[in-house]
Amino acid sequence: MRRFFGKVGIGPTFGLLLLTAFFLAALVGPWLAPYGPEAQNLGHLLEKPSHAHLLGTDENGCDVLSQLLWGARLAAGISLTVVALCLAIGTAVGTIAGYFGGWVDEVIMRAVDVLLAFPGILLNLAIVAMVPSAGVGVFVFALTINGWVGYARVARGQVLQVREREFVQAARALGASPWRIMLRHVVPNTLSPLIVQATFGFAGVILVEASLSFLGVGRLHNYSWGSLLSQGTTYLWRTQHLAMAPGIAIATVVLGCNLVGDGLRDRFDPRRSIR
């Protein structure tokens, strides 16, 4: 354990703990939850934390802890899907742009610029708001449509470096096809910074998804973290735990992602490792 600390540092270790807790909650939380996410107990509305309801109840008598645990699964599911899609699309597009260069690069990167010029959350909002009764799929689509561009830029930058390395020249000299070179030689050597980017991106998706629910567009489920937060603020003057619980949950996950991301970046970039 101490050796692990020494290698990774306190911050990333703490972040790893936070993220582990989050994913455990997402994985097994719904089974551990004492009540259903929408089970109402009309005798106990807006109650403070107690033995029966560890984090209290909301204005409908739903157990806040149970909602948070179900919400964790929702948040983890959406974020993982979005990050995976963005990483795949971004890496593919960025690699093609960077490897082929010329007009291919020009066309792709101008499209990326156009997407970047939009304020991100506005575009997400517009898409989710346009679809009546937007489900999880629409959310994922809306967050992916401009989420991949960051990965594409990072991937392209990496490819521009790796493409000039001698082992890539060697593969060309052997007669490897461009696709083979990209898949076997270029992409595996560009992944480290992309994984760092994905870690930070995960936190970003959690935040944006919460923001959309908070703003009330395409409300997925009443127990998504953003919805919980939005409900909580309504009763902020009567009881604070309703807003605090989802707020702390969101902050914890984002903090965990950023700490782990920092740690990974230090690991992958030898120039930054001071120890």
Partner: protein
């Protein structure tokens, strides 16, 4: 012996952007109208200072850099006219060994995967088992144990990695190999082993080498003929023995005078060239070597050197030099 490799008037220019926003356009003449032939089974040494275009020339011959103009014929195939598909198929016949054995092996592939890849690309070997066997043979041939196939490049020393690089080039059984300074990243003791390996392989497989180097001693030992490059051009080419015995171009004279002498009794004066190599973006007019040429100074700065580019032509049997006053600068002794 017929020529296996013929290079005609090969030119590689790089576009150089100058100015803050790349408004100005310049051209860097990295390789400027180079012609030579290499006979089958022969080793041609290519020497010159850093930045004179030797590596670019080596890569342009194999079309790793797309040549700007000129023609390259290797083993009867006009390489410069091949489309991308036929070019990939052709690459089986001409290979390259790189200078830096640390950069030229993919760090994320095992040695076995690195050596198997060329076999897969060119459909050599019927199945996985046959390819594995061939990989083991190749490793054995370059003096590595077959078990190392499972290891990654970072587990090896520089010399061992260069052996892997050589094995990779050999895997497709090429007829011609460009060796792009394969020794300069290695310790002297390892250099000798690799040179011997290259010589042995040449004998076994009747290989033809273009050996790029700035180590004149090794070139003398290894090469049948030598071409001296300066600022993107070949300024002298001759059989190694003739060149080392009596260089005709003042640049070659100066280069050879810089070779360290082992015998301390043999004192020789070195010719120290003045100034730096001019930028290939703005080569001097006339003979590109004249601003640094000791002979130009000796002869009282003749106008001819400043105005006319000397052609590479026979000055003695089999001995070509590009100098208006070839052979007039005596080697210092």
């Amino acid at each position: 012996m017929s020529a296996l490799v013929a290079v005609e008037n090969l030119t590689k220019h790089f576009a150089a952007r100058t100015g803050l926003f790349g408004g100005g356009k310049g051209v860097i003449r990295a390789v400027d109208g180079v012609s030579f032939e290499i006979a089958e089974g022969e080793t041609l040494g290519l020497v010159g200072e850093s930045g004179c275009g030797k590596s670019t020339l080596g890569r342009a011959i194999l079309r790793l850099h797309e040549p700007t103009s000129g023609r390259v014929v290797i083993d009867g195939t006009d390489v410069t006219s091949l489309g991308s598909g036929p070019l990939r198929a052709f690459r089986k016949r001409a290979q390259i060994i790189f200078q830096d054995p640390y950069a030229s092996l993919n760090p994320r592939m095992t040695v076995g995967q690195i050596l198997e890849e060329p076999l897969t690309i060119h459909h050599l070997g019927d199945d996985r088992g046959a390819r594995r066997k061939r990989v083991a043979e190749l490793l054995d041939r370059v003096g590595l144990r077959p078990e190392v196939a499972a290891r990654y490049p970072h587990e090896f020393s520089g010399g061992q990695r260069q052996r892997v690089g050589i094995a990779r080039a050999l895997a497709v059984e090429p007829r011609f190999i460009v060796a792009d300074e394969p020794l300069s990243a290695l310790d002297v003791s390892i250099q000798a082993q690799i040179v011997n390996l290259l010589v042995d392989l040449q004998k076994e497989h009747a290989l033809t080498y273009l050996f790029i180097s700035h180590d004149l001693k090794i070139v003398e030992h290894l090469c049948d003929r030598v071409a001296v490059m300066y600022l993107g051009r070949v300024v002298e080419s001759a059989p190694a023995a003739a060149l080392y015995a009596r260089p005709l171009h003042p640049y070659s004279v100066a280069l050879l005078s810089a070779v360290p002498e082992i015998d301390p009794a043999k004192k020789r004066t070195r010719i120290i060239l003045e100034g730096d190599v001019p930028s290939p973006a703005a080569p001097p007019p006339g003979c590109p070597f004249h601003p640094r040429c000791p002979l130009y100074a000796q002869k009282g700065r003749p106008e001819l050197c400043r105005t006319a580019l000397p052609p590479l032509e026979d000055k003695a049997p089999n001995h070509r030099a590009a100098c208006h006053f070839a052979g007039e600068l005596a080697s210092p002794s």
